[in-house]
Structure formats: C-alpha cells, structure tokens
C-alpha cells in the first residue's frame, strides 16, 4: 500500500507561495527604506516648506475622502437598487475618471479658466480645486464599493423593507448597510490622493507629493526626496493601518462575497430618473467639462498631426510598459487568488498586505530602484534600467487591483468542481487548462485592461525609471505641458482620452461577448 495523500501539507505550501509573492510585491519599497535609514542625512528634512506641505496633504486627503463619499455613496445606492435607462454603460463609465491621470483633467479645467468668455464659470484652484478634481477622480471607489455592497443585500431583505416602509425605508436600510464599506473605500481614495502630483502641481497647491517631485526633478536631491517619500509613506501607513484593522473584513465581504439571489433593480417612478441624472451629471462635471477644456485650445490651434506623430512615437513604449505591467500583475494576482481561494483568512491577510502597499506613494519604489540603478554595474542594466524594470515596478504597484479582480472571479469557482474532478481522476493540470482557466478568462482580460490603463496613469514611476530614449505617452504629455503650445498639449490629452474611452467601450462589450461564447 502506498501513501497517496496526507492532510496538512498543501495549506503550508500555499502559505509559502503567498509569502514569496507578497515578498516580491513588497521588494521594490525596500531599497529606499534600507538606503535612507542607513545613511546620515546631509540636510534637514523638516524645512518650513515641507512641514507646511505635510499639513496641506492631510487637508487634501480628508477633503477628497469626504467629497468622494458624499457623491459616491448615494449614487452607488441608486445604481445598485433602481432600474433606469442605459444602466450598464452609465455605471461602467463612472470608472473613467479613475482611469485618467489627474493632470489631464486639471489641464482641461485650467484651459477653461483661461478662456475669458467663461468668466462666469467657477474654475477650480488651490486646495478647493484639488479636492474637487481628485474627489471626482476618487469617487468611483466609494461608488463601486457601495454598488457591490448593495448587490450583497438579498432580494428578500429589500422586498421586506419595501413592503413594510416604502422607498424611504429601502434607502435608509441600504445606506446603513453600505455606509461602512463606502466610508472605507473613500478613506482609501483619500490616502491614494496623498501621492498625486498632477492636480496640486497644476492648481498651485504645495502638497508633500509636490515637494518630493521638486526635490528629485528640480533639485536632483534624491537623498532628500527619498527621506520625504519615506515620511509620506509613514503618514499613509498611519492612516491606512486603522482603516484596515477596523474594516478589512467588511470591505472583503462586500467586494468578494457573491450574493446568490441579489435584489433585482426596481423600477421607481422618480428615483429611476434621479439615478441616471446623477450619474450623468457626475460624468459631465468630472470628465465632459474638462474634456471641453481640452477641445477648446485644440480647436483654436489644431495640432492633431503633431500630436498624432508624438502618439505614434510613444505608442510602442507605452504598450510595452503598461502591457508588461498588466501581464506581471495578472500573473501574480492569479497565483494569489488561486492560492487563497479556499481560505478566507488567507484572502484577508493578502488583501491587508496589498492595500498597505497600494497606499504607499509610487515614488517610494521608483526612487529606491533608481538610486540602486545609479550604483549598479552596467551588466545589470537589463534588470535595473530597462523597459522590463518599468513594467515590473508598475505591475507590482497595481498588483492589488488585479488581485481583487481575480479574487472576485475565483470566489465563483465552486469547490465541488474540484471534488468532481478528483472523483473522476482529472489531473490538476488538465482541470486548470480545461475548466479553471477558461472560467477565469473574463476576469483575466478585464484585469489586464484595468492594470494597463492604471499603469499608464502612474507618471512618477515611469518618469523616474524609464530608460533613456523610451517615453510613454502620459509622461510625454506631462513633460511637455509646461513649455509647449496649448494646442499640442490639448491635442495629446484628447488623443489619450480617446484611447481610454475606446478601451472602456470595448470592455463594456466583453460581458456580452463572453455570454455569447458560453451559450
């Protein structure tokens, strides 16, 4: 008799795999930590400007959290509970602001502010402007968190509340159920906005992220930038840790759980019009108006041809950076999701670590790696200062996003499929190739697209790590925006926006394509 299997060995293997992958995900942040802590500072970190900017950053984060919550929670509820025309595209396109770099929207607003005939239009500036633009940009986080949490309410729960107290009770009950998750998502949005440089730079608001950018791109003081970045990371850590401690379980339950009998969207006479109206208004204010701001100079001084040349010149590099990042992120994310598919504890642990890493400023990894690359021998250039480096660091940065998407998909894998395969003697490899992989293919494609678009928005990482001669489109726009004709900048922004909208439109057709395939 041979021993075929023994209990207990596989969970251990899974944990080892998880620790290795999470270690890889955290590794880009380590060089800066080690270098900075092991070095005597040459100049004081607490300059007057940096102290002030740290305080300003906190105001910005708080403002963005509150603003995005105030819009995202009610709209998420309405989108989850009510039936209305063009529901699917309207909900999907709420993700658009999150998929655009903030500087693109800010350039649009700035162009509008410069137009004299629009003197009556209140245009954003300073703290209020940053909160306004970044709040609208982060709004998808509480919006989709509320929408997902609303979907986890059962049809019978909603029906019974509706029968007993009418629509007002439905809204109160659902808001109470979804609010904790929405608040957590809004706080996460606020923390993520701490590292944004685009909006504060354009609206003249001195945040810590702007100070860090000034240190490395204007003063070329990487040591100071590194220490400032560590301080900002510490601040983000201080803010995110209690959020994760208190609400991670809630967030995971809302985002990863699958309700087998969710409430059907209800056709309400008034709210079925309020919902699309609200969603449309947010899209108009958040995306359409700044886009008009981009169209204005582009129409006045059309430079589409020059912009198209620039786009063509940077397209290959952009695709390699973002596509490489997407492949790396989705590969690791699939491994993590499959390794934690049978363990709720494992999922929580992984989510906690990854959200912590996501909250870190992107400059933390980028400055550390670029400092190491400076001292590394030329033989290591393929690893330290190549397109692969950019793709790898971007991929690891957006690993949390891909992981959440893949975890959501693996939650739908029924354990009984695996049991049936074991009874029928289907090998693990064959089961993976024939059942698991095709089942996850939709989530894989969505995650690839999502990470590609998000990776393109990360200017800091790409700017610091791109090899000489290789420039991505967003970085190209960011570098030319201060000293090029407005028409060219606006045309470049418009072309970039068009690419993202086309990608999103293609993504909106994916469910239909998949359901046709599976029919």
């Amino acid at each position: 008799m041979t021993l075929m299997a023994q209990h207990g060995s596989k969970p251990m293997l899974r944990w080892v795999l998880l620790v290795i992958v999470l270690g890889i995900a955290a590794s880009p942040a380590l060089p800066l930590v080690v270098l900075t802590l092991g070095q005597e500072p040459t100049r004081s970190l607490w300059t007057d400007a940096f102290s002030k900017s740290t305080g300003s950053t906190l105001y910005l984060g708080a403002g963005v959290s509150v603003f995005s919550l105030v819009i995202g929670l009610p709209l998420g509820l309405l989108a989850a509970l009510y039936r209305f025309p063009a529901r699917r595209p309207l909900i999907l396109f709420q993700a658009l602001p999150l998929l655009l770099p903030s500087f693109l929207l800010c350039i649009g607003w700035s162009n509008l502010a410069a137009a004299k005939w629009l003197w009556w239009l209140p245009t954003p500036d300073g703290l209020a402007g940053c909160v306004f633009v970044l709040g609208l940009q982060m709004m998808p986080l509480p919006f989709f968190a509320t929408w997902a949490a609303g979907h986890n309410l059962t049809a019978s729960q909603i029906d019974s509340v509706r029968l007993h107290g009418g629509e007002r009770s439905v809204l109160t009950f659902s808001a109470r159920a979804c609010a904790p998750v929405a608040i957590l998502a809004a706080l996460l949005g606020g923390i993520l906005s701490l590292s944004d440089t685009g909006a504060p730079l354009i609206f003249g608001y001195r945040s810590a992220a702007v100070e860090i950018r000034t240190s490395f791109s204007a003063l070329f003081d990487y040591e100071l930038a590194g220490r400032q970045c560590l301080l900002l990371a510490g601040l983000a850590l201080l803010l995110i840790a209690p959020v994760l401690f208190v609400g991670l379980r809630l967030l995971a339950a809302a985002v990863l759980a699958r309700q087998t009998r969710p409430a059907m969207p209800y056709p309400h006479r008034a709210l079925s019009w309020v919902a699309p109206g609200g969603l449309l208004l947010v899209l108009i204010v958040g995306v359409v108006v700044p886009t008009l701001g981009l169209c204005w100079p582009a129409a006045e001084n059309p430079m589409i041809e020059r912009a198209a040349t620039k786009v063509t010149a940077t397209a290959g590099t952009t695709l390699i950076f973002t596509g490489g990042a997407a492949v790396i992120a989705v590969l690791f994310a699939t491994l993590i999701a499959l390794a934690t598919s049978a363990s709720a504890r494992g999922r929580l642990f992984v989510l906690a670590v990854l959200l912590l890493l996501l909250a870190m400023p992107p400059a933390l990894a980028a400055i550390g790696v670029s400092r190491i690359a400076t001292g590394a021998p030329p033989q290591l250039d393929w690893l330290m200062r190549s397109r692969l480096t950019v793709a790898l660091i971007l991929g690891l940065r957006f690993l949390p996003v891909a992981t959440v998407a893949m975890m959501f998909a693996t939650c739908g894998l029924s354990p009984s499929w695996r049991d049936a395969a074991r009874i029928h003697g289907v090998s693990r490899v064959r089961m993976f190739v024939r059942v698991t992989l095709p089942y996850l293919s939709f989530a894989i494609v969505v995650s690839l697209l999502l990470v590609m678009v998000l990776a393109a928005t990360d200017i800091t990482t790409t700017h610091l790590l791109q090899p000489p001669g290789d420039q991505s489109l967003p970085v190209a726009i960011f570098t030319v925006m201060a000293n090029s004709p407005e028409g060219l900048v606006a045309s470049l922004c418009l072309l970039y926006l068009l690419c993202v909208v086309l990608l999103l439109a293609a993504a909106s057709q994916l469910p239909r394509l998949w359901s046709r395939r599976s029919a």
Partner: protein, 247 residues
C-alpha cells in the same frame, strides 16, 4: 451479499467540530440505501470520506474488500475507488459542453479516443440527452442538468453511485422522472446507490434499505420494510409518519 463499502470507527473533525464520531457503515453490492440524518449530522461528510475527498482522522474504510483509507491516510485515490457522485449543486463544469463534461470526467480512466467516444455516446443515450451534446450546462433546464450529472457519473461505470441531495431544486414531475431513470439504470447496470435525502418520495422510489445518522454515528440501519414496520430512532419515526401521510 458481500460488503461493497465497509467502514469501522470513522472519526472525522472539520475545524473544531466532531462530525463523524466512530461511524460504522456498510453498503452491500447492488444495495440501494438511503442515508437519513438531521442537518449537520455528518451525512455529506460520510459520503466525502467514502469518496476519498475527505480523510477520517481515525478508523478504516474498505471498498470492495480493499482498504481505501486508514487512520488519516488515503490509500486508494478517489478515482480508483469505482465510485461516482452526484453533488448537491451537480458540480457541472460550466464552460464545457455536455459531451465535453462527460469526456473530461473520463480522463482519469486513460481510455483511447474511440473508447471514450463510445462511452460518451452510450452515457448520453442512457440518460436521454444525446441531442444536447453540444449545449453548455447553463443553457439546460434543471432536469436536463440532473441527467447530465447522471450521465457523467455513469460513464465511469461505477460500482457505487452516491447521490448527495441532488434533486432538491426540481419540481415533482421532473424529480419523479429522474428518479425513475436512476432506478431503471441501476437495474440495468447493477451499481449500488447511497442516497442522502430528507424526502420520503425519493427514498420510496429508489431505495430498499435505510440508515439513520445521528451526531456522527449510525444509530439504525435495516431494510426499508423493517424500518417502516418498526422504527427505532426519532428521525426514523418522523420519516415513517411523513411517508404514511404521503401515501
């Protein structure tokens, strides 16, 4: 009759809960036995231990006279036990067609392409779903899905078919039709059946003996007629009352 399944002193824990507590359970060749038990009594776990999907920490399980697991060690892997199972949620692989579901289910037997094809056609034919061979499970009705799960199970030519409450979501007419089909196939192919259910109709249609599981132990096991005539446990008494009401 020889014992097809023979378990002695099975002890199984899931987390902190003791689910099987020294379970002794026998199934004879060609027998159709219904396994009754209240929720959480360990019925599904017992089936999973017999199938080799779960290991009992202590105790011994023999299948067809060979020791299949002993004190936490699996000695015969699930697909070599000659057992097929219909799961509560049917466990159909959703992205594969009906024929592909059956074909993948045969992959552990290492048959030639022709042999596989012949078995698939035979199994689909037996379950009256040949015309659905190219459809995917999501496009089938509840009854057709049950037949697909049955076809996939029977294509293995098992000695024992285990049914873990697979007919719960069906309407009465479809349920009767599926049960009748299983009974006919059982008579034709000669496999034994373990049926986990709460429904007297299912027991009456398919089984000739009954076992009652309480707190992880078999407290009563006998021919159906004997139990109907003289039920011992509270659950068996309730079951007989429900059966008589149904009649």
């Amino acid at each position: 009759m020889t014992a097809l399944v023979r378990s002695r002193g099975l002890i199984c824990r899931l987390g902190n809960q003791l689910v099987l507590n020294g379970t002794d359970f026998d199934v004879a060749d060609h027998e159709s036995i219904a396994l009754l038990g209240s929720s959480g009594s360990g019925k599904s776990t017992l089936l999973r231990v017999i199938a080799g999907l779960e290991t009992a920490r202590q105790g011994e399980l023999a299948i067809d006279g060979k020791v299949a697991s002993h004190d936490g060690r699996i000695l015969i892997p699930p697909h070599r036990r000659g057992i097929a199972m219909m799961f509560q949620d049917l466990a159909l692989w959703p992205n594969l067609t009906v024929a592909e579901n059956v074909r993948l289910g045969l992959s552990g037997l290492r048959l030639s392409r022709d042999q596989s094809q012949a078995r698939i056609e035979h199994a689909l034919d037996l379950c009256d779903i040949s015309e659905l061979a190219d459809r995917r499970p999501g496009t089938l009705s509840g009854g057709q899905q049950q037949r697909l799960a049955l076809a996939r199970a029977l294509a293995m030519r098992p000695k024992l078919l285990m049914l873990d409450e697979p007919l719960g979501g069906l309407d009465l007419i479809t349920k009767q039709a599926v049960l009748q089909q299983i009974a006919e196939l059982k008579a034709e192919l000669g496999f034994a059946v373990i049926l986990v259910t709460h429904d007297p109709v299912e027991v009456y249609s398919l089984c000739n003996s009954l076992a009652v599981l309480e707190n992880g132990r078999i407290v009563e096991q006998a021919a159906l007629d004997e139990i109907v005539a003289n039920p011992q446990s509270a659950l068996a008494k309730a079951f007989v009352r429900a059966m008589q009401c149904g009649e």
